[in-house]
Amino acid sequence: MVNRSFEYLRPETIGEAVEMKAAHGTRARFWAGGTDMMLLWNRREVAFDYCIDLTYVPALRYIECSGDALRIGAMASLDDLDLKSDLNPLAAALGHTARLMCTKQTRTIATVGGNMCHASPSADLTPPLVAMGARCRLLGPDGERDLPLEDFHLGVNETALAESEMLTEIHVPGVDGKVAAHYDRVARTVVDIALVSSAVFIKVNAGNRIERAGVALGAVAPSVIRVTGAEETLVGRDLSNVNNGVTTTAGEEAASAARAISDIRASKEYRTDMVATLTARAIRQCISSLEGTA
């Protein structure tokens, strides 16, 4: 076998990491957790000359509430999400999602930022984050920009990152007060990737009226789908008014927004039906957690 290697670079600050990327351009790739990158490299599905290892940049690894926002550093691990589940109801939903992903001993390596940048259509964290209205912060040599997560994912393994930009943070603004989120998926076993998935986010005002709702679907299109029809079905309703009729309607909205395909793992029809079921269930789950805290 022909020797194939790369140069290993180890920045310790965000500034150094961005400088290294700017210096080497497309010949360099950021190595976050590396749990996808390692496989891509070993299968020769990716080529680069410089590996910029971000695991020694402590400033990128945090999960915290500040002001009205939940902030997650790009290098927070999936296990960190699990361990920070007590932070607030949204962190709890993300912790629950993280526990569905890979295995404990791989969650300690895999990162939130890596999961976002790999941009897999079935990435479990994308639907809940998009439903919550998450935004991402990108940093490049010319400065910082901030965009909605759904605009960050352009397609299968494609992101809005410019050549020398890095993802530094995922943040979810405006989530103080009474909020709930729930994500679920259909998969054969715990280590499988999602056949289809759905996430719901609900925020209610002091009078328990829904003021914001988010519904997002995974694995039914090249990138995450936000279901505005289902969101509109929910917004403005009193919590006590969200009956089975409402959850069914929202589920139907989700099913009609899905653009599922048939493949070896499931049929288009099955996926579409399950989108409706998962969405209705996730809404009920949010409602019951909000009623618990109401």
């Binding site: 790369f6 190595w31 290892d53 280590v191």
Partner: protein, 168 residues
Amino acid sequence: MTRLNVNGQSFDVDVKAHEILSDVLRNQLGLIGVKVSCAEGECGSCTILVDGVPATACLMLGRQGERHEITTIEGIGTHDELHPIQEAFVEEQGFQCGFCTPGFIMMAKAFLDENPNPTEEEASMAMSGNICRCGAHPYIVKSVLNAAERMQGRHESKRTTGSTGASA
């Protein structure tokens, strides 16, 4: 040179940038208790502890072992002085071929350090990131519960010495 702190000892190793930590531990340091089965982070055979936290060594670069305390199965017990978890696996027969066993034991160590008194369900869930292809999972869960008792000093061995003709 890459400095690796493994099982309480410090090693300076020549590690190529693309080399995988599990390969470095096995081939350069001779720590063949680190087993590689799937090499894709699915099976848990290569589980090691990095600063006490379980990690699949097949998904880490060798250089990423630097500035951490790495523990492999060789670091927790010896042939003459087994770790209580190892004793528990022997007693409960928590294996058949034994290939996956080091990974299970390292995972059990990380788990029991965090949750010294687990329920059967918790133990089963904690071991779900490791695959035993012989199918010894029920015995492995028993082994973990047995190990928890041993580590808390409240285990009575099933092996009765000096008794004859006793039926189990």
